[in-house]
Symmetry: D2
Subunit: 344 residues, 4 copies
């Protein structure tokens, strides 16, 4: 199979770097274009980037010239790693020019006919693109914390139904981009606030865990309630979520652990970025931990731990998601692979 050509918008940022790292040696996709802001355009990638990953920059990338974010690329798919503050109009420009865009930015996530997808949770929502009337197509992935939350909630929802979710996050520094959080704000400290994050965590899950209404071309939002309080901690990568849930039905912890460990909704699709285990339940009393478990499944597995029944219809657990892999670039790539499997 000839590889699909893909472009990356916002290629110099932290999420852009993850796209490059994850797409090196990808079996279906090949990076043909790197694009970024006007400051970077015209430079080689290695000149423009402050490379912050601990694997070497791929040789095939370092001398590529960075282009401006204009819809003049020869490519099959566009991955947008742009900051949400500028992503909206640029992504619109590409969609209006007929491109297929997979966006990590927040701008279009809640738009009525835009799928907001984590494939293992709601790949069926990808069909919503049929109702998009633009020349091109746009598909979004959620906020990095939301990805972890909805993946962990999916088996709970399936088994017991969701009534109310209360989540307290301990989020990694890479979630704020680079330079992002000042070191003086976080060494020997926790910052109990992340701008705009609580709003995303309380709204996005209702769409993702909603039902695709095929007849109306719409998502019927799930009716449960989410409360969120977000904290930044001195961790490089990996968002840790402390979640308590009130359910509709009676809780069974053993049934839930079974469901977590057998969670394989994409089994038949053979997608290259889909981890063998999208969820894993770690039985140790002090798991999951960001430094030890964020890279499980190549950063695509969400680790869960400490399932405790609080009452007949309530429980709590911890979930850990690698925020720039599963929570961003990796999720967008998996969306593209799934979209390809459905439409290719």
């Amino acid at each position: 199979m000839k590889k699909r050509k893909v472009a990356i918008l916002g290629a110099t940022g932290l999420v852009g770097q993850r796209f490059i790292q994850l797409l090196e040696n990808h079996p279906y996709f090949q990076i043909s274009t790197l694009a970024a802001s006007q400051n970077s355009a015209g430079k080689t990638y290695k000149e423009a980037v402050t490379w912050r990953l601990n694997t070497a920059m791929p040789d095939s990338i370092s001398d590529m010239l960075i282009e401006e974010c204009r819809p003049t690329f020869h490519c099959d798919y566009v991955f947008s790693a742009l900051p949400s503050s500028v992503a909206g109009p640029i992504e619109d420009m590409f969609v209006n020019a007929g491109y297929t865009v997979f966006s990590n930015a927040a701008c279009h996530r809640m738009d009525a006919n835009v799928p907001l997808v984590v494939p293992e949770v709601n790949w069926q929502h990808l069909s919503l693109t049929r109702y998009q009337t633009t020349p091109g197509v746009i598909i979004t992935n959620p906020n990095c914390s939301t990805v972890g939350l909805v993946m962990a909630l999916k088996p709970v929802a399936d088994l017991f139904g969701l009534e109310e979710v209360n989540v307290v996050t301990m989020q990694a520094l890479s979630g704020a981009g680079y330079p992002g959080v000042s070191s003086l704000d976080i060494v020997d400290n926790v910052i109990p606030h992340i701008n705009g994050e609580e709003q995303k965590l309380t709204s996005e899950p209702l769409k993702i865990l909603g039902n695709y209404n095929e007849h109306e071309g719409a998502i019927d939002f799930a009716p449960f309630k989410v409360y969120a309080q977000c904290n930044r901690v001195p961790v490089v990568d990996g968002h840790l979520l402390s979640v308590s849930v009130k359910t509709k039905e009676k809780v069974s912890i053993t049934a839930l652990i079974d469901a977590i460990n057998n969670f394989q909704p994409l089994k038949g699709f053979n997608l290259p970025s889909a981890p063998e285990k999208p969820l894993i339940y770690l039985p140790q009393s002090d798991a999951p931990q960001p430094r030890l478990h964020r890279n499980l499944g190549g950063g695509m597995t969400v680790s869960m731990g400490q399932l405790v029944q609080y009452s007949d219809r309530s429980l709590r657990f911890l979930a850990l998601v690698h925020n720039t892999i599963r929570g961003a670039a990796g999720c967008a790539i998996l969306n593209a692979e799934m979209y390809e499997a459905m439409n290719g």
Copy 2:
């Protein structure tokens, strides 16, 4: 006034060091005896201790000889900073020998006729000592996280009544003592578990916020429910609590902020360790923060922030407590000052 002589059990540990720091220049109390384990007994304090505070060791202390923990001291009060694993029998020995013991250890906190006290919250419980039948007396202060939680909950309880409390903690390293947490477990990491902590956080508040039943010489436990999930974060001092509360009555955020800022239940007593403001509400969207706010009021003020109404009868807030000052040594000293004021 002649100063009371006080002894410190467990004087070389982190909490013991805080006792020494806080009692330097205390107007009522003077350290007359330092006691520790057999390993340390017979050495000078400066030989035996690994001093971990960033103020210099008081000159008057450094050459004092450390004694064994036996009830042979000439002193008025005994402060116990012993680890809970060994405190029980030693404290019993002192109480049976007629000493008045203020203990930071967990062993006797939940005993029926032992006061478990944070003066601003339940100083009235100190009267429970009348029902102790031993030659001496024992008074305890709560677990470090519990201290922060009950102080923050007190005005909520008074205004709206408590139905259910859900707390997620982000706790400092000093809470585990020295050497305590391995650096390899916490750099670039969070440990989502603290041994025994959730159990203390879910039980102690019910006693502290209960009513002293004078006729029966007992505490009627408060009937609300606490759920807790505890995390260790890379912070030296200061436990941060993310708390959501279901109340009995309708919530008013402005009334609660007023109550917090006017919270001064010990006003008339003029206790030297009582801070001007036991509680303070910080209006910034990213407060309180451990490194910036843990030392307010000399480490005796609990900082609150981010009060948000979740529904008619629910709200959330953040609270920060300096775990080795207000949450341990400072609370025990304040208990002693209050006991002195009531009985002196």
Copy 3:
């Protein structure tokens, strides 16, 4: 005595905040003006600043209006905490308008007739101002690392003479200002480079340890050689220096320790900001440590440790300096106190 009115230029930065903290309750000086960039001018201090110190902002300061940095103030002394990138022309403007400026910025440090002073090391250089021909006067303090280095070198120079100095620094985050170093660059990391720092460390000590040539109104630079390699480490405050020295004369470690502990060159002057011990030798094998020792002497004492004789005429030691107190604001204030004592 009526207090001198002082203005602070760059009052919202980290060093500006230290000036405010250190001048609260100062016996000679009273802050009458806060000045900062145009962005901040016209706002109250509390609106404009991101307060990063762990003591509360003084009440007397929080509502003061910030002024622009123009020479229209009614004050006796001007403290400049401006970043070196903008300080030069602004300081010139004040000096030309007749003000007496004490500057922490790098711009004028190496100017021929500008004193570069750490009072304990070279207060005699303050007389160099007699040769300044401007209406006002300017006096500078060195780079934060240099302050620690020259204080530690002073007794070595006096006893044995300096031939060659090789210093490797481990510097705190606050040295880079706020926001300064990105958290992603420093958590679980060391950055082995600080822009411009090595150049300052290799040149400034030669001026400071030089002789004031009274007849020519000039400083005869000291003839030794300094090599420096600078590193940023994940520490909030406190620069640690690992220093090896080749001396002119035979080394005696015991004589040097005596000289360090008896180093009191300002004894007769009774300056309020002068610490009782400008230098202290810590005998522990693992001292000095930034977190434990940076605040000794209120942050004005330089701690030394691990003196080891390498050969007949070489030795090594460690020195620790609180970079924003002794290494910046505190040194400038001490310069002003000394200048006052000489000219007041």
Copy 4:
């Protein structure tokens, strides 16, 4: 080729874990025995270990039973990851029973007929085993910091000759084992001391960079001088060395950079653990950095940076070594591969 069976002594420690990680899928070696202290013997590996690496424990290892460290194994090679405090007699027992031992412990490194080897620097020293008169054989690798130092010094020595080396280290936490350094000692701090480390750094390089005297069966130590000052910094893995060198001959920086980048002394041997580039010179002004560069070459490449000529015959540079891979387990495995190539 049938794989060699290897045993690991001290399999549960941090270095033992690295042996297991690096030997998973090794083409020549297969782990047949895991041994540890009596506390662990009889347990399965997963029961006994506190696994601290961020890759999953190999399935083939987790249920292996841990044996005592007695010479009753059926294996070809023994890797010793024992702590130096207990390694000596145990290793002797194995050597006397005829085993071939590759030891990471300090006990036998300086013994006259024991090779102390980093293959790229002095593989020729392996021949020294001919002069061992025990039934078995022992080969050691240096201290983790020494490995980085001698690899970086090798091209300097070859080009210009060494007169004097002054090294200041900033060492990672994993170098102290687990639990090792207390978190309270290192968060917001540097510890300027590592027990015994300076002694190793000043003696081991003279043996490694010495000449193998084939006729006498001895190593003629190199005659230069090393001075060392060692610091612990809050970094998980990766020792950073700031090194200044006085040379015998005139320095040329460009010649040295060429030599570093072309350093491939093991080229013809095709050893599986030998990295393509044992040394790499990073031209960025702020390199090498522990978090970004410790994993280059799978943790087997030593990164160098910031070569600066100090004078005609002196220079300085920075070097970074992954302390538990290249500086410990990886070096021992490479020694075994080289020994196999010479004797297999």
